[in-house]
Symmetry: C2
């Protein structure tokens, strides 16, 4: 019974991850009750992003400039290259501000099941970046899944012929992890990678 | 480290009810990875609503036309008037498609605590609609809260002088309600309003 425009907005919002039909309706009500303070700012923000959205030609990050802000930041150490599966992973690592180098987004992970082959990912672009020189270390920051680790192994083999250090994220107990709630895989990894007490 | 435009969009989305900073970031990533299929449609939907948004001069509903689609629908029974606190309540009742009449939105409920007095609500407009005639029944569909019920009592008194039937939503067990999980207030209401088994 709502107007077609309001229905269309509800539907567009309900397709966002984390929002279903019910919460999308609540969001629409929130927006239309606050036309100046919520609807207009969201519209402006969305239009600005839509207008300028670009994929970085160097690393594959999505930003409003190409090259992206990370690739052009002179304070970042270009000798360290962190390889991730998806833009979301890049953002997660960058949010923590723990990695001072640059990134490379593969655009997925190798998957026999989903038919994702090496040529479907930005692997050649990665190898060209390494070949061009100036990189000392490649950090493989794949997900700790079977496919992520398969991808990491494959990349490690391909990078072997370059004079760079190849590392990967440590696996083990997450911060706050309680042993009797963790899965056996994590416990096995943590035990296998145990280290001497300093 | 994301661009200011992307940050602004994340912030605007994170202010929607049901979305926090984390889910807003996921939503932004979803949008920028699907520029044509998600971002552009949402932008269009939002712009269309922003452009046409109007509050119905008759009932207080928010729609893209004034009078709203409900007030101008000839299939609706103008003799039944359902009074609700908020636009959200109107939508909830209308979604269920159980009420075939028209609505009146008060824009809140009486509240000594929040300093909401009768003149702050669309009560005079309601009385004028009833006074204009053509209304047989006024359904008071306030929330089953102290303030909602206070508002309903107040409205019932004000409407008394008109030759209309005043009713209110039944209180009792919700569908699927299990007695030992329900609060005492609901049980008391259900017991007080008990009916002979048909």
């Amino acid at each position: 019974m709502a107007s077609p425009e309001i229905d269309a907005l509800t539907q567009a919002l309900s397709r966002l991850p984390g929002l279903g039909p019910r919460s999308a309706r609540r969001a629409v009500l929130h927006l239309i009750k606050r036309r100046e303070t919520a609807l207009a700012p969201l519209l402006r923000a969305l239009a600005a992003v839509e207008e300028r959205l670009a994929t970085c030609g160097i690393c594959g990050n999505v930003d409003t400039t190409d090259p992206c802000a990370i690739c052009t930041d002179p304070r970042r150490d270009a000798r360290s290259l962190c390889v991730v599966e998806e833009v979301a992973d890049l953002w997660a690592l960058d949010r923590a501000r723990l990695f001072p180098g640059r990134f490379h987004v593969l655009g997925g992970r190798l998957s026999a099941l989903e038919g994702v082959r090496p040529e479907d990912l930005a692997i050649d672009a990665l190898l060209r970046r390494i070949e061009a020189g100036g990189v000392d270390e490649v950090v493989l920051a794949m997900n700790a899944t079977l496919e992520g680790q398969t991808t990491a192994h494959y990349l490690a083999e391909r990078i072997e012929r370059f004079p760079v250090r190849v590392t990967q994220l440590a696996h083990g107990l997450p911060v706050g992890g309680e042993l009797d709630y963790l899965d056996e895989g994590t416990l096995a990894q943590a035990l296998r990678a145990r280290r001497p007490v300093a």
